[in-house]
C-alpha cells in the first residue's frame, strides 16, 4: 500500500509537467496575448478606434521596435518556450504564481479572494447531495419497481437530462425576473456592508438558493443512481440471501450487511469531488454572476490573462490528481480486500 501510494505520488510529477507544458505552449502560440493587446491599446489611443482585434489592412505600428522588445522581455516572450517555461516553473515551485497581465495583481491574491466563494457553494451542495442521495438511493433500491421508484426516477432523470446552468437560467427567469422572489444573481447585494447581521444572513441565503439548486442538479442524479444500483447488486448477492435465509430480518440484512458494502463506490467519488468543490462551474457562475473560481478562470481565458490561467491550471490539476489518490485511499479504507500491489 505504501509503495503503491509513493508510486502514485511520483507519477503526479510527469503528468503535472505534461499538463503545464501543453498549456504553456498554447498560451505562447495563441494571438491576442498581452503584447498584442498593448499594441492594440496604443493604436486605439492613436486612432480612437475601439477594436480589440487588429484590422486586416491596418499595418501601422504604434509602438517602436524597441518598445516591443522591452515588452517581450517584461513578459518573458523573448526567450525560447522551454527556457521561459522552466523559469515559470521555478517561480511556481517557490510559491510565486506571477502577476496578472490584466489587473497587475498577484495571481495568488486573486485566486485567494475567489476560493471562499466556490468553497461555500461546493461544500454546501456536496453535503446536501450526500445527505439526500444516500437515503433516497436506499429507499429506491428497496422499493425497486414500485410507484415511488418510478416517479422519483422520472423526476431525478429530468434533473439529469438538463445541465445545471440551463436550470439556472430557467430558475432566474421564473423566480427572479417574473415573480421577483429571489435576486437576479450576484453573491451578495450591493448594500451588503450596511446590513444588520440578520439581514446579511438572510441576504446570503436568498442569493444562495437558486445557484445551489443549479449546482446540485447534475451530481444529484449520478449519486442517487450509484447508491441505488450498487445496493441492488448487493441485495441480489449470495451473502445477503444467506443472511436472510438463516433468519436475519430484512432491515438488518440491508443496513448491517448490504449497505456497508454499497458505500464503497460512494467513497470513491468523494476524492474526485475535491477539485469540483474548489473550482466550481464557470457556466453556473456566469449565469448567476457569482465571482467564484470558475468565473475567474473563464474571464482570464477570454481576456488572455495567461498568468491567471496558468495559476488556476496549476491548482486545479494538482487538486484533481490529489483527489484521485485520495479516492484510492478512501477505497482502501472502506474495503479491506483492496491492497494495491
Amino acid at each position: 500500500m505504501t509503495a503503491y501510494l509513493i508510486r502514485r505520488l511520483l507519477l503526479i510529477i510527469p503528468t503535472f509537467l505534461g499538463i503545464t507544458i501543453m498549456a504553456f505552449t498554447i498560451t505562447r502560440f495563441v494571438p491576442g496575448g498581452p503584447i498584442e493587446r498593448m499594441i492594440a491599446e496604443a493604436r486605439m489611443q492613436k486612432t480612437g478606434l475601439s477594436s480589440t482585434r487588429p484590422l486586416a489592412g491596418d499595418q501601422t505600428q504604434p509602438l517602436s521596435e524597441e518598445q516591443i522588445q522591452e515588452l517581450k522581455k517584461y513578459y518573458g516572450f523573448d526567450k525560447p518556450i522551454l527556457v521561459s517555461y522552466f523559469f515559470w516553473l521555478g517561480k511556481v515551485l517557490t510559491g510565486d504564481l506571477g502577476v496578472s497581465t490584466r489587473y497587475y495583481d498577484p495571481v495568488w491574491d486573486m485566486i485567494r479572494d475567489r476560493i471562499p466563494i466556490s468553497l461555500y457553494f461546493g461544500s454546501i451542495s456536496l453535503l446536501l447531495v450526500y445527505g439526500v442521495c444516500i437515503p433516497l438511493g436506499i429507499t429506491k433500491a428497496i422499493r425497486h419497481k414500485t410507484q415511488f421508484d418510478n416517479i422519483s426516477s422520472i423526476i431525478v432523470f429530468i434533473g439529469y437530462a438538463i445541465p445545471g446552468w440551463v436550470v439556472g437560467v430557467l430558475l432566474l427567469i421564473i423566480f427572479a425576473s417574473q415573480w421577483e422572489i429571489f435576486p437576479l444573481g450576484g453573491f451578495v447585494s450591493d448594500d451588503f456592508q450596511d446590513m444588520t447581521v440578520f439581514g446579511k444572513v438572510w441576504d446570503l441565503i436568498l442569493h444562495t438558493i437558486l445557484p445551489l439548486i443549479a449546482y446540485m442538479v447534475g451530481s444529484f442524479t449520478v449519486m442517487t443512481f450509484l447508491m441505488k444500483n450498487t445496493l441492488m447488486d448487493h441485495l441480489a448477492s449470495d451473502y445477503v440471501r444467506t443472511a436472510i435465509a438463516k433468519g436475519l430480518s430484512f432491515e438488518s440484512a440491508v443496513f448491517r450487511h448490504a449497505l456497508r458494502n454499497s458505500l464503497i463506490p460512494m467513497a470513491t467519488h468523494f476524492g474526485n469531488n475535491i477539485s469540483l468543490i474548489l473550482m466550481g462551474s464557470f457556466l453556473i457562475e456566469k449565469v448567476f454572476n457569482i465571482n467564484g473560481m470558475g468565473l475567474l478562470g473563464y474571464e482570464s481565458v477570454v481576456e488572455r490573462d495567461y498568468p491567471v490561467v496558468m495559476g488556476i491550471l496549476v491548482i486545479s490539476s494538482f487538486l484533481f490528481m490529489v483527489g484521485n489518490i485520495l479516492s484510492d485511499i478512501c477505497v482502501a479504507i472502506v474495503d479491506p480486500r483492496v491492497t494495491f500491489e
Binding site: 499538463i19 494571438p31 430557467l170 440471501r241 457556466l283 490539476s317
Partner: protein, 347 residues
Amino acid sequence: MKLNPLTQKKIRRFQSIKRGYYSLVVFIIMIGISLFAELLINNRALIVYYDGEYYFPTYGQMIPGKVFGLDYEYETNYRDLQKRFRAKNSENWLVMPIIPYGKLETDLKEDRYPPFPPSFQEEHYFGTDNVGRDIVARLVYGFRIAIFFSLILLLANYSIGISIGIVMGYWGGKFDLFFQRIIEIWSNVPFLYVIIIISSIVVPNFMMLVLIMAFFGWINMTWTMRTVTYKEKEREYILAAKSLGASNVRILFKHLLPNTVAVIVTYAPFSVSGGIVALTSLDYLGFGLPPPTPSWGELIQQGWANMNAWWISISVIVSMLITLIVVTFIGEAVREAFDPKLHTTYE
C-alpha cells in the same frame, strides 16, 4: 439481416420497456420532422400557381420577384405575394408552409421593436427573438444542427476511442502506460477553455467545431473500452481462440469487438445528449458556430440577457428539456435491455 438470438432478445427487451421505446419513436419523429423542416417552416411558398404555371420554390434556386409580376429582382416575398393574390381576387394562388418564416429572416414591424411576444395572428406561435426572427423556426433548424452535430461528434469520438482503447486493453504493457499518462494529461487540460481560445481566433465552421471537440472528446470512450477489453480478454473464449491459433487481428475483430458492442451501445445515447449540451454551452458563451446560424445556446443567451422576453428562454429551455429527456430515457432503456443482470427484489 440476420441477428443473433441474443441481440434479438435484447431488442425485444428494449421494446418491452415502454418509456424508452416510445421515447425512441418520438426521437425518430423529431429528427424526421427536422429533416423536412424546409417544407414546414419557411418563408418560401410550397406551391405557387401563377398564370397557368406551377412553381415549387422550396428547394433549389431562389425565384426573383419579376417572375411573378413584381417589380424587383431579389427573392420574392411570398407572404406579400399571397396578400396581393388575395386582394386582386385573381386565379393565381399559393400555399405557404405552416409557419411562413425563414430561419434567418427578420420580421420587422414599422411601429414596434422586437422581441415580439407569441401571437397566433402573426403566425409567430412562440414569438420572435431579440432581432425579430421567428423562434419556432430557430428552434427547429437549431435542433437539426445540434442533433447532427452530436451524431457526427459521436462517430468521431467512438472511432478514435474504440480503436485506441481496445489496443490499450489488449496489449497492455508500455503502450498502455504511455497512453494512460497521455489521457491523464488530456483530461486535465480544461478543454472548454482551449475551444474558447481557438474559436476566438478563428470563427469555426461546423466540421471544424466537430474536429476540435473530437480532439478532446475521445478520452471517455478510450477509457471505457480499455477497461472492458481488460476484463474481456481474460475470459475463456479468448484463451480458446488463442490456443486454436487465431491471429491477434482475428481475436480483436471477431471476438473482442462484438462482445464489447453492448458497452458501446449503452454509452451512445448519453454521448448524444452530451454533444447537444456541449454545443449549446459553447453557443451560449458565444464561442460556438458563427452568429446567424440557428442555435439553442444563442437563444438561451438572448433570453438570459433579456429576461422580460420570457417566451424566448421558456420555449428554448422546454424544447431542450424534451429533447434531452427523450434521449436520456432511450439511454436508460438501452442500458436496462443490455444489462444481463435481473435484479432480485425481496418481498
